[in-house]
């Protein structure tokens, strides 16, 4: 809401502007942040444990490396996640299953994280995902027009997604776009989360939210979300795009499924993906 209304208002008054301001922020104790993911696809299982930091302090926030992380499911299977077993520098704070491990559709998963004598828990269910039937692409009209004005980066192609949305269940989706194997967003505060309220069965060519240049390898990953997951990601959209509570709601922490006072979310999903190379004509 910030974007549409405020930009509009500024546009209307011709002269409005925004400028930096330095906040005099009260320090509050650091909070534990847990980000966990279990899916039905190999290699996507991880838990990241970190702490919140000062608002103005840049650099990666503090990672927690001494946590005990265990995931159990309702069939009795239990998996210990170990901290950064390969010891790579960019995986500090990441815990991955100690052996090959994938989730199973229909099972409920319980996460338990212990840090310095405190235990944090979470439960989420692995729901099925509908397949992406096929994908096409075409130039986006607006991007194309903009590209005529400026030199542009050639990223004017949008993907078209075709699928069948199951009508007998309430479904929630998280979509991730990859460009040449890198996760990309059109804007760094974008979260592509949706539910099926009001959506019919035929999804015939819904355009992607990110754009590609000719020759780009484009991949779309679609994750199923529980209602908790949908709420968390929707709330994340709100706080990342808050207008400071003028027209929209005041910023509020996303509703987490983690107990014990930690921030973050434990997401259990089925995943489906599709890949296409944009040929550019």
């Amino acid at each position: 809401m910030r974007n549409v209304l405020i930009i509009l208002l500024i546009g209307v008054v011709l002269a409005g502007c925004d400028e930096p301001i330095t906040l005099d922020i009260n320090q509050t104790p650091s909070r534990l942040v847990i980000e966990g993911q279990v899916t039905d696809s190999p290699g996507l299982q991880y838990v990241r444990v970190s702490r919140s930091g000062d608002f103005y302090k840049n650099g990666t926030t503090q990672r927690v490396t001494n946590a005990q992380v265990i995931v159990r499911d309702d069939s009795g299977e239990q998996m210990t996640f170990t901290h950064n077993p390969r010891g790579s520098a960019d995986s500090v704070g990441y815990y991955i299953p100690s052996k090959n491990y994938v989730g199973v559709v229909g099972r409920t998963y319980t996460l338990s994280v212990s840090v310095d004598g405190n235990t944090y828990g979470s439960v989420d269910k692995l729901l099925r995902i509908t397949k992406i039937d096929s994908m096409g692409y075409r130039p986006n009209v607006f991007r194309e027009r903009e590209a005529e004005d400026e030199s542009g980066d050639g990223k004017i192609w949008e993907l078209l997604i075709y699928a069948k949305e199951p009508q007998d269940t309430e479904d929630n989706y998280l979509i991730k776009y990859y460009r040449n194997d890198s996760l990309v967003y059109n804007n760094e505060t974008d979260v592509y989360v949706l539910n099926d309220y009001g959506v019919g069965e035929n999804i015939d060519g819904v355009p992607s939210s990110v754009y590609y240049a000719p020759g780009d390898k484009a991949r779309v990953e679609m994750y199923s979300l529980s209602r908790d997951g949908f709420l968390f990601y929707s709330d994340l959209v709100s706080i990342l795009n808050s207008d400071g509570g003028m027209f929209g709601p005041p910023p509020a922490n996303p509703r987490s499924n983690i107990t014990g006072g930690a921030m973050g979310f434990f997401q259990v999903s089925a995943m489906t993906s599709k890949e296409v190379t944009v040929s550019g004509n």
Partner: protein, 785 residues
Amino acid sequence: MRLFYSLILILSTHFAFGQKFTINGYVKDSGNGEELIGVTVLVVGTGTGTVTNSYGFYSITLPPGKYDIQYSYVGYRNQVKSFDLTQNVSENIELISEATTIDEVVITGERLDANVTDIQMGHTKLNIAQIRKLPAMFGEVDIIKNVQLQPGVITAGEGTSSFFVRGGSADQNLILIDEAPIYDPSHLFGLFSVFNGDVVKDSELYRGGIPSRFGGRLSSILEVRTKDGNNKQFSGAGGIGSLASRLMLEGPIVKDKASYIVSARRSYQEIFAPLTNQNGQSNIVYFYDVNAKVNWKVKNNNRFFAAFYSGRDQFRFDRTFGFGWGNTTGTFRWNHLFSDRLFSNTTLIASNFNYKLELQDPVQGFAWTSKLQQYSLNNDLNYFINTNNELTFGYHLSYRVFQPGIISPNTDGSIFMTISQPKQYVFENNFYVDNKQKIGSKVTLSYGARLSIFQNIGPADITTYQDPQDNIQIIRTGTEHYDKFEPVKTYINLEPRFAATYLINPVSSVKASYNRMVQNTHLIASGTVPVPFNTWSPSGYYLKPQLADQYAIGYFRNFKENKYEVSVEAFYKNMQHVTDFADNAQLFFNPDLSVEFRQGSSYAKGLEFSGQKKEGKFTGFVSYTLSKVMRKVPGVNLGNEFPANHDRRNVVNMAVTYDLNERWQFGSIFTYSTGRPITLPSGRYEFGTYNVDLISERNGYRLPAYHRLDLSATWNKKPRHPEKRWRGQYVFSIYNVYNRHNPFTLYTRVAQDKDGNVIGDGTQKEARMIYLFPIFPSFTYNFKF
């Protein structure tokens, strides 16, 4: 109904005192025949008297004898009439205006010493003639921008048409145009209000001691009446501004018996074109207003009025995304004299508010429409019992239909289906009675009550939940069906109203008041300022009526023969079931919206100091308000008390005009207020690739203070042909003279450079302040003939 008319009959016969006679009639402007509201009608030498009511009608009852009656009104020459009272007399009076320039023949007047003697406190008559001389944004004369300067009134910031009265939220103001409610008074999201200054005759703001004839909102009544139309001769007025143009025409249909007025205003789309039409897109942004009114008189005891208002805002971006909203109201009014002392006003009202959002797209195309319709029948009666008692009573009946939203696909290939959120039907009966009684020469009392009988009726299918406050795991337990007209929920509330004035001496008084108000129509908004797309909801299965109890006392003093008016008022207001949304409420496309509703309590207390000078070359007012508004709502801020979004503790407003001579007038506005509360992060954390703010407390910080100075100069052009009626006027104004960057709102983001590229690794966050208006000149040409 029958019972009601029997009551009228009883009153008009039973109380007819044999030994006394009545003088009554209408008081009008001699130039254009407009009825004058609040004219003092004084029996010379006795100190007794009355004032004309909202329709310009007066009635005074005296024993037989010879009397001189004086009619006086600010901006008009006094008139004295002699009567030899041996029978009832009907006497219409025409007062002659003292105005010499284009500026307004109609002046919102009142008794010169009304500040001290009137029973009403927490009340302001907004003087449209004075507002015209004050600086205005884009030169558009705006009633609501002036309301925002009154004591006890707080704004959310510039560029908004919302206002907050004595701690109430933005939906707690009843805004009436010719008695029809306006559900959204904004144009361009609030840069302007829907009231075209050319047609406004009179407007009043009640923020405390609200009379029992008003109800339905907790905090204030803004009553705007439009002109009836010149019944002497054809005339007109208009203006060419930097944002919009206006034209108003009025004239007699049958001289002295029937007249009309029509006016229209439209913004120029071209103003926005350079900014919005980028990349060859064709964008449309405009608003318009149309007002029309006719009135006619059948003898002296029947008058009919029909008034119409319609306004709309329309936005469309490159033929793909569009939205618009608008109000349309119609009023049909019948003033009737049942007897010399019983004045009746019957009004039929229709009001419609709707908005529409639309996306044109072969796959994701949809249209969202939402609508609120109201039909009302009001019957208001004034019974002038004797010089010491004036009874006001009546009933208001209304039927409302709320259609919160219909989403429908607008192309064949759309992925959307048609979804209609359930309609709600509401039936409301209100009865009220109020007596204004003078006791001796010192004390005036006003006492009465309003009975509100509210019913949310079928057809309805109400979804029930295991826990209707749980918006995370929504567990539906079934639906309850209600047939057509079957009550879903009935709320009956009695609203006592009381006011008293004690005259210490002719120039000072003490006043006290208590009122209870009930509100059954709620605009639940999560932000500080409601936007047209917030949806009105009635009380019903899940929402309880909001209630307010307000206590106020005040001291009023006039100086130098009523030239200067000073007052101090203190108030305490306790509100129950104020509405809010739960933290993180899902507002769009939510079939279970009711689980997001929260109701809590709120209180406000404050002190208002006000000074005013109404006559002379220098006129104006200054006010200072010290107030505090706290809220406590379960499910919001963990159930802890927090300052309301509109809790601005210190507010100073000043508006002055100076008439140098017949040609030149100057105006100035200064406003200062404490920054509004805002929720800011206390830290940040990382989730995935996102850099997220950590929030610890709702409204724990404040924006920097708001202050601004505006200036204006009005030049009345010397008429080239003084014998003709054409008069022209140029208005220059400068908004925000010392170019303060006043914070509109504040947001955070990952630090970016000038071109919008993320700086470094994207871990640095920054806060940004948005301001709307730097120093801003505008220019308007006004004319009348």
